[in-house]
């Protein structure tokens, strides 16, 4: 089941004009910002398929930058996002890509600040729902069926156990979990799909664990 709750259908409350091209884009931008964890100096946005062809008309550009500025889908500041980004000294570039992707509404977001760089590929699947299919070269299989917690961590023993211990303490059940790394002992990524939405306090607690670099959640 791609859609779980009635509010995926009757909702979200959002700034127009398009749930896939505006609200979905804003969500992709916001997940990127949350994962990056700070205001970037530069945001490079690569649009594919329908996004590449129609982004200006749908305000996809404004929306995705609104997300990068940490605005929610219903935040009316979205309409001014490009101006606000400029004021906040975030350098924004849009790139229209020719490559054919599996889903027509795909965007690659690259955020940089000094030496730090993060790359994420998101897909807007309709009705404002999104899926993240790639993060920093890690291929994700985040179906979007369930709320999910993303944990970027160092590839060390005990990290997975400590994360799942915290989840157990909060009585959060894990529906699906994936751990991937690029190289032994380097950066790794944990993707945890859970049954219910998790509280902010749980994320904060996870972040305090040793060897954890970043924690974020997607899908309310």
């Amino acid at each position: 089941m791609k859609y779980r709750t009635v509010f995926d259908i009757i909702g979200p409350v959002m700034i127009g004009p398009s749930s896939s091209h505006t609200a979905g884009a804003a969500k992709i931008g916001r997940v990127a910002r949350t994962l990056f964890g700070q205001k970037p100096d530069q945001a490079d946005i690569y649009f594919y398929g329908s996004f590449a062809k129609t982004y200006r008309g749908h305000g996809t550009d404004v929306a995705i930058i609104g997300g990068v500025l940490d605005f929610d889908t219903f935040d009316s500041r979205i309409t001014e996002a490009l101006t606000i980004a400029k004021k906040e000294n975030i350098h924004v570039n849009f790139h229209e890509e020719e490559a054919i992707t599996d889903h027509p509404n795909t965007a690659r977001v690259v955020l940089t600040k000094g030496e730090e760089k993060m790359e994420l590929v998101g897909v807007s699947i309709g009705g404002g729902k999104i899926e993240i299919i790639e993060l920093n070269g890690f291929v994700l299989r985040l179906s979007g069926n369930h709320p999910a917690i993303l944990v970027v961590h160092n590839d060390r023993y005990g990290v997975i156990a400590s994360v799942s211990n915290v989840l157990a303490k909060y009585e959060i059940n894990i529906g699906h979990m994936e751990v991937s790394r690029k190289e032994r002992g380097k950066e790794a990524l944990m993707v945890i799909e859970v049954d219910q939405n998790v509280e902010e306090s749980l994320l904060i607690e996870l972040e305090k664990l040793p060897n954890i670099m970043k924690v974020t959640k997607i899908h309310d």
């Binding site: 009635v6 329908s50 027509p104 509404n105 309709g126 219910q196």
Partner: protein, 295 residues
Amino acid sequence: MFRNVAELVELAESTSKSISEIMIEQEMEVTGRTRTEIKEQMLKNLNVMKAAVERGITEKVRSVSGLTGGDAVLLQEYIKKGNYLSSETVLDAVSKAVATNEVNAAMGTICATPTAGSAGVVPGVLFGMTKKLEPTDEQMVNYLFVAGAFGFVVANNASISGAAGGCQAEVGSATGMAAAALVELAGGTPSQSAEAMAIALKNMLGLVCDPVAGLVEVPCVKRNAIGASIAVVAADMALAGITSRIPCDEVIDAMYKIGQTMPEALRETAQGGLAATPTGRELEAKIYGVSLDKK
């Protein structure tokens, strides 16, 4: 948990519950939230819809591109003159669907039902009925749960994305959802809701997504308008006892398969259909300074 319309109707009729009640119970089970929380969130969404309709029928909103705006007000003025040909409820529903989409195109605040491009039909039909049916807030919220239940089935078994399935997946789904919800609001049975959905969606099959300049404006606003009128008529037909020869789930499946075989040019890329007409291209060139297919 229901996976299709047949299960939804069976679940409702075997337990003598309304479809809205089945949807609320499922939501409680899936999310672990309380009935009160769920109903309050839906009431909030209802109030967003109400505000968008109010704004659209009183204020001559204009989109950034200037392509749409002000038609909801025109239709309200026309209704007041009393010389209409269809009916007051149909036209009121139509004008309120238009109002919502005009506000959406102007980057105003709306509630997606199921998407922003198709956000007009569901609230349009609902607020078009307020004079005739005088629903309470509770009944209006329940109407949205019925619409949500049918939309839930479409979204999980087919698609609600114009880029994936064409306009039939967006305004088509919304029209079916509104027809089904209106049946319950008017006192019909769960199976009549399913018939209304089937009748409405059948008449939206094959509808392509061909927005001029790629904007959610032309023809989206007017497709929501006519979608609202189809929803009202389909609900009337189902309440009269008319059934669809093709069961609702099979209509949804047909819609999905049509979407899969639809050329990309007709799936929200602004490359075919109305977007590719001489006037469509002219408007596009005016808005962007250059035509999309020449970029």
